[in-house]
């Protein structure tokens, strides 16, 4: 062996040994998110669950639980915060029914001033001990149509109290979907106003609007000012709002800014027989733990209909603007096919698109509705929202409402061939 070859062999062996030693470094593994980076989806999974529970200054623990029942102590179905000592604010993330539990201090009875936000004014609230649901009392209905309730709850020492909100279900109802507000909350306000007008008309026709679903990109730069503005807007919406995060909402790695304003981004809820699954794809991928829970999160359960809402479209076709890894959206599509989902609603692309995605023998319908106000490029912008009419017998029927900016006498675009404009 020549000296040159020997040197080569020595270096190669050294490199190999070094690589093996580096491989052994996996023993340095730590739990997830020890150093928080909230652009990482798994860190957001942790924080969205932690923010659904709070040890208040008074010693009372307040936490969201699944109104459908669950083995878990609490679920990421809302956001609990204490803006000032003694006042607990709980933002309900879901539409339809919800449940909050309060566990008293071990030493003495306590009273908690509770402010519930994002609650349908038609929802009936009941409060009672967890272990004796029959003893629950029904709270009086509010006189105003606000999405906010305030109450004071007395919790005995060591006792546990449940506050349930139950929404009376009509035979038919509507849901509104939109995404991608970003730099244009001004136009989004116009869309909200249109939703309010349409909702009042629909209620008169016996199809009340039960909620608005926003599929991410509420802000452009994830700033506090932007989130404050959009939360105030949504606080005055005509119906409760369910939200998931978009890529523009998670720019700040050191702060879980989206979750601290809106709570969870991965959750599901049933609204009058329709399951809506919200999936956090803001990082253009799923947290691996969410991937492992897809069957639970996007499963149909006992619901009659299933709608999945997420930011990145699971099938992006020829847009080239898709997920950061393709296995996850394809696995998500497969789970949705197994659950026979009725509709997939996504955003991210600032446009209106309607497509059929083939998954095995199933055909899934995917509508992209990134029309909440964000810049749409050189073409004529098509702003507006997707209205979904849900009828137990007729199923899920989507249509689009174009809300043109001031200056246009009417809709500036023609409807898509497969997606009609709604008859207002």
């Amino acid at each position: 062996m020549t000296p040159r070859l020997r040197r080569l062999a020595t270096r190669a062996a050294s490199l190999g040994a070094g690589a093996l030693a580096l491989a052994a470094l996996h023993s340095c593994t730590q739990p997830e998110c020890v150093v928080p980076n909230y652009t990482h989806p798994e860190c957001r999974v942790i924080v969205e669950n932690e923010l659904a529970r709070l040890d208040a200054a008074s010693g009372v623990e307040v936490r969201f639980v699944d109104p459908r029942g669950s083995d878990l102590d609490w679920d990421a179905l809302g956001l609990v915060e204490e803006p000032e000592a003694g006042l607990v604010r709980a933002r309900v993330a879901s539409l339809g029914d919800f449940a909050v539990r309060l566990r008293g201090d071990d030493e003495a009875p306590r009273a908690v001033d509770l402010e519930l936000t994002n609650v349908d004014p038609r929802a009936v609230l009941r409060v009672g001990p967890v272990d004796d649901p029959g003893a629950a009392i029904t709270l009086p209905q509010p006189s105003d149509p606000l999405l906010r309730r305030r109450l004071s709850v007395d919790v005995d020492a060591g006792a546990e109290v449940e506050l349930r909100g139950e929404l009376p279900c009509p035979e038919r109802f509507t849901l509104a979907f939109v995404g991608d507000i970003q730099t244009n909350p001004t136009h989004f306000e116009r869309i909200i106003e249109r939703i309010r007008e349409d909702g009042e008309a629909a209620a008169a026709d016996g199809e009340p609007l039960l909620g608005l679903v926003i599929v991410g990109d509420l802000t452009e730069w994830s700033n506090d000012e932007e989130f404050t503005k959009i939360r105030a807007l949504l606080g005055n919406a005509p119906a409760p709002v369910a939200v998931t995060a978009g890529n523009h909402d998670i720019f700040r790695g050191a702060v879980a800014i989206y979750n601290s304003y809106f709570g969870p981004a991965n959750y599901n809820f049933d609204v009058c027989g329709t399951r809506v699954a919200m999936i956090d794809s803001a990082s253009a991928r799923l947290a691996r733990s969410i991937e492992g829970r897809l069957a639970e999160l996007v499963g149909r359960g006992d619901a009659d209909h299933l709608i999945m809402a997420t930011h990145y479209p699971p099938h992006w076709g020829l847009s080239g603007d898709g997920w950061s890894r393709e296995d996850q959206p394809q696995i998500l599509l497969a789970e949705l096919a197994l659950a026979e989902a009725d509709l997939i609603v996504a955003g991210h692309q600032h446009a209106l698109r309607d497509a059929i995605v083939h998954v095995g023998g199933h055909d899934l319908r995917q509508i992209i509705v990134g029309t909440g106000g964000a810049d749409q490029g050189l073409g004529v912008a098509r702003f507006g929202y997707l209205r979904v009419r849900v009828d137990a017998s007729a199923g899920v029927q989507p249509c689009f409402v174009e809300v043109p900016p001031p200056g246009w006498a009417g809709p500036a675009n023609d409807p898509l061939a497969s997606l009609p404009y709604c008859e207002s």
Partner: protein, 510 residues
Amino acid sequence: MQRVRGLRPRAVDEGAQTIAAGRRARDRCVAALLVALVTLAPTPGLAAPVSPVSSDIHAEDSTRDAATAAADAPAPAAATANTPAPSTADPPAPATATENTTAAPPTIPAPAKSATATLPPSTEAQAKLAPVTVAPDPMANQVGAAWRHCVPGYTTCTRPRPARWLLGALGLTLAGAGTAYLLFVGDSLRAGDPGGFIAGGGIAALGGAVLGGLYGLTGGDRRGDADRLRPSTFAFDYTSGGSPRLGERHPGEIALRFAPNFYFRDGGGRLRLFGHVGGIPGRETDVDPRPQVSEVTPGSDNTQPVALGERLLSIGLGTDLAVALPYPLLRRSAHLGAAELRWRPEVQIRRHDLGDRVIERTMLLPLTVGVRWYLSPRQRFTAYVGPRLDFVAVAAGDDALDRGAPNVGSLYGEVWYDIDVPLLVRPSAPVRVNGMLTLGYVHSRFDGHGINLGGAYGFLGPAYAGWHMRLRRRGKPAAVQVGFGSWFGSGFAAVFSAGAVLPDLGGKKL
């Protein structure tokens, strides 16, 4: 009893065990770090841990133009006034070197018998045909001659420097155009798919041209070696998994690859069958980090239950047909290097076994076409692009997979830049060692992560950088090929590869 947030009451009882387990983990961690530091410290040139993946050396080529074929001959080159001093790794410059290439073209002596003995039989035969006459460089005495100089030792001139500048300028222009297209045209006009590939491919072309230029400045614009790297006939690859968290298992992926070549008898083309079978060895697991599901298990460091367990089977099969174009292609060509056209139909299948269900993803690439540009005898730029069809099939329990109809997917593309680095090619060397540096960009996220820039997720695919070496004992028909590299996306994955190179089938190489 005091409540511990995130843990069920049993967690408190097991606290002492948890502390002890944590100490054990820390000790293991420190030991591994020490071993890594000690082992890597004397290794020159390794500044950081190498990480990530592997596929085969996609971009390696196979066909060469007449000039490159001449370069494969072991004949010593004729040095010109413009040629940088050869390194010791190159064949020794002959005494017949000329100082002025405008003089009558010198004749390169036929290869010495001892030199041809180091090559495999097919190359030997080729070497006998190799003695050629060096063409005069018509621009040798003009301004900028050094910049436009021809690589010495070839019948037909190739000018690597202008070729690289052209590629770099094209790359920069395309990167800018693709980015502008994405940003300004917007979604309403369906911007996207070509923009991402044009931008990513442009950046890769620019990066390759810059790196190739740096290599050229160090004297790399010289004859290539006949035994340069191509994909191993058979190879075993290991790709590292992502960094696991506590309680997780990311064993990476393994793959057995094959890529035999068949050369057409007229020397005008080559057909390669390539493919692989592999997957995750065992089961990859990820934990559920939600605090309300944490639970202490005696004897374990980890309190988080497994959320996802996955087995993966990976299969790929395709053919790559390469046909050389005449060189120079045009009568007034500036001699910027030979080119060839390619067609590479391919299918890739990934089967994910998630326990109670199986999900199979298939990517069909029927019309992927490519072009290869030989910017210099040692440097090649290759690009592929084509449409893509996706099948997603799912089966729960014992149900059979139903593949159904395909969906039209995004554009598929690849861009590669290869730089040959002959390390030990002296005719007398007992082992011939050739290296190759490969840079690439794949416009697909079928496997793994794409590159994300800030919040701009999902536009680009991953990039690859790798170093591979071929070692061939003198006179042996088979060679060994090893290499390592890394895929870069939102994270990185190290690739280690080892394989065997057997003699090619069919006629003579291009």
